[in-house]
Symmetry: C2
Subunit: 110 residues, 2 copies
Amino acid sequence: MLEKTTRINYLYDFYQSLLTPKQQSYMSLYYLDDFSLGEIADEYGVSRQAVYDNIKRTEAMLEEYEEKLCLFDKFQKRNKLLNGITEALKTDSPSKQALLEAVAELEKLD
Amino acid sequence: MLEKTTRINYLYDFYQSLLTPKQQSYMSLYYLDDFSLGEIADEYGVSRQAVYDNIKRTEAMLEEYEEKLCLFDKFQKRNKLLNGITEALKTDSPSKQALLEAVAELEKLD
């Protein structure tokens, strides 16, 4: 059984445009619409094993893209910095210096 | 003659990890080290035309990646927002509201 993880959901979100239409369909049915492997197999008239293999390969591709482009990793780092800035701005007298440093960190992420 | 543009330099920067080692070599010699097509051809013992065709194809691939992932486009937008935040923070009393809006824009870019 494949593990339906949040990580794969995110990776799919970032890299789906690099996948083939068939890979996109299987992934989207499995991860977004929560179909089972058997239901996807029925839908496409292929074996459950074929669907499993395809999704498994696609997941490996997504991890390879992440290794090369680090979009999910950068997204998480960026998010953390942006949350920090938002929190700081909500306080009475946020430190400008700290905010400028957070902005500099954000610039370095690109 | 290929035009050595800043845009291609940026696209190469963002997507080079998705290229083959040979594509990376040609692109890096041509765009970063400013070799001529003839010099690269000599270096690799291939025709000038072969180098030209390879670089031309690679440039098209970079544009396709940009169409799919928009990393350069998002980088530019992010940069503009970050510069705006930096400028605002350098003024005497930056508007918290404007800063929070810029941060929200940054969050939307991911």
